[in-house]
């Protein structure tokens, strides 16, 4: 009931392409769904987050699409750049930042 399943495990995209990472959750009490970006040797950094009252949120090149009925959400990175190469984690939680349940991560490589 607490799991957040993330796919794919790894992703290779050409510069300028679209990177898409998918997550599915089980706990219907979750009301906060953030995406974190993590570079090697660093802690995760919040990229973008969404709440279930909207189906899409866009910030620059990053868009979250949210499907409440399917209990799925995804991250789209438009015009992917080599600097976007990192590990991305989706998460779900209740009451915002408290006790987040993270997916297993997607290692993204953007080729120049």
């Amino acid at each position: 009931q607490q799991q957040v399943k993330q796919s794919p495990q790894s992703l290779i995209v050409q510069k300028g392409g679209i990177s898409i990472i998918n997550c599915a959750y089980e706990n219907t009490a979750f009301d906060y769904f953030p995406w974190y970006q993590q570079f090697p040797g660093k802690g995760p950094a919040l990229l973008i987050a969404i709440r279930p009252d909207v189906s899409e949120k866009k910030e620059g090149r990053f868009t979250i699409s949210f499907n409440k009925s399917a209990k799925q959400f995804s991250l789209h990175i438009m015009d992917s750049q080599p600097g976007d190469s990192a590990t991305y984690f989706c998460a779900g939680g209740m009451d915002s930042s408290y006790k987040l349940i993270f997916g297993s991560g997607t290692r993204l490589l953007v080729r120049p």
Partner: protein, 113 residues
């Protein structure tokens, strides 16, 4: 400080020893969290402090793990009788009030040999 600071960055200890990991949250943040990240996995929740008190310690794996935050700022995660399975990166995060964005530190990489 400018961000969440964790010390040490790396810690190697022998099986059975006691270790302390320190977290300095962002100044003014009342909420503090500890997570553990094993290799190739996402962070796993350990404990949440609101002020000085542990509001939720349900993620601590067993009674060898303990955390304190005596003055509502710096927190220390304490691990007794370390085991090789405790090897992981221990992440600390803080947020203004528990209902806003959590900012993570760079983590402490603990290796138990």
């Amino acid at each position: 400080g400018a961000g969440v600071s964790q010390t040490p960055s790396n810690k190697v200890t022998e099986k059975g020893k006691y270790v302390e990991l320190r977290c300095d949250p962002i100044s003014g943040h009342t909420a503090l969290y500890w997570y553990r990240q094993s290799l190739g996995q996402g962070p796993e929740f350990l404990i949440y402090f609101q002020g000085t008190g542990a509001a939720d310690d349900s993620g601590l794996p067993n009674d060898r793990f303990f955390a304190v935050r005596p003055e509502g700022s710096v927190s220390t995660l304490k691990i007794q009788r370390t085991e090789r399975g405790d090897s992981a990166v221990y992440l600390c995060a803080s947020s203004l009030d528990g209902n806003t964005e959590a900012f993570f530190g760079q983590g402490t990489r603990l290796t138990v040999v």
